[in-house]
């Protein structure tokens, strides 16, 4: 099976993630639970046009994070990440 690229870089999701986490997420990083690769947000593959936002690992294509917004709620699944590391101001 071969794959064709049809994604944006993860910075396209930075605005949505900032509204969720309340801080700039462009320097955030995390580790894929599927393959163990450490990745910056900008390196992830973002699928944004569908019912929700999906960030995938650039190494193994596993889902790292999903975000769905309804008019009244947000759902977050970050189960594909071992952790998220967010730099804080000194």
């Amino acid at each position: 099976m071969t794959l064709t690229p049809d994604f944006l870089d993860g910075n396209a999701a930075a605005g949505d993630l900032e509204s969720l986490f309340g801080t700039d997420m462009t320097m955030a990083s995390g580790r894929c639970r599927g393959c163990g690769e450490q990745t910056m947000l900008a390196q992830t593959h973002a699928y944004l046009g569908g019912p929700g936002m999906v960030l995938r690992c650039p190494g193994c294509d596993s889902v790292l994070l999903r975000l769905v917004r309804s008019p009244t709620q947000m759902w977050l699944d970050a189960g594909g990440l071992d952790y998220v590391k967010i730099p804080t101001p000194a």
């Binding site: 099976m1 994604f7 569908g50 995938r56």
Partner: protein
């Protein structure tokens, strides 16, 4: 005499009548995906129905192509709010595929090549309501629209019509799929605007 085109007004009334609440009509066919488009080799393609007892019914591409097909013209309604009227699909009815499958299951979890899944009540796959479609508008179904074959359930929001379908798992208890387990509605009736859990 007024110079208003009666034809224009007639078409507008028709479009409103066919649009579920909150939808708008588009002439395009937007491509929305939750992941990379898999290039599925027809020599490797299989479609599997697995029952709640573990029994498997498997078709390869040649066997699938030998089944009787139907051509349907249907309207599509995407939960992202676009609707597309009068799309023509050719495919195999789920009534044909499920005809010899012994089951007392009430639920189905649809699996795609890649990691996509979606849940549907089994009764919504029967009685001429759903197809495994492999041609669109007279041509082979393009990979970006789910080719070589996708599920087509036009009476539900389009996320239920899983692209790149590879199988259906029949279940006694409902299991939520890719979007349903993060907030989207288990059923997804566009006419009742069932977009999110609780709608």
């Amino acid at each position: 005499m007024p110079s208003v085109s009666r034809g224009f007004h007639g078409r507008a009334r028709d479009a409103r009548h066919r649009l579920p609440p909150g939808q708008y009509e588009t002439a395009d066919f937007p491509v929305l995906s939750a992941g990379p488009t898999p290039a599925v080799d027809l020599d490797q393609w299989e479609f599997t129905i697995r029952t709640e007892t573990g029994a498997r019914h498997i078709w390869d591409w040649a066997e699938f192509m030998a089944l009787p097909s139907q051509t349907q013209t249907v309207d599509l309604h995407c939960v992202t709010k676009w609707s597309k009227f009068e799309t023509e699909w050719q495919g195999v009815s789920l009534d044909v595929l499920l005809k010899d499958v012994e089951t007392s299951a009430e639920y189905a979890l649809v699996h795609s090549y890649g990691d996509y899944t979606t849940n549907v009540p089994l009764e919504d796959l029967l009685d001429g309501q759903a197809w495994i479609a492999y041609r669109y508008d007279g041509d082979e179904l393009a990979p970006e629209h789910g080719g070589p074959a996708r599920l087509l359930i036009p009476h539900l929001y389009l996320w239920k019509s899983a692209k790149w379908v590879r199988g259906i798992q029949l279940l006694d208890e409902e299991e939520r799929g890719f979007w349903e387990n993060i907030g989207y509605h288990d059923y997804g009736d566009p006419w009742r605007e069932q977009r999110y859990q609780g709608d």
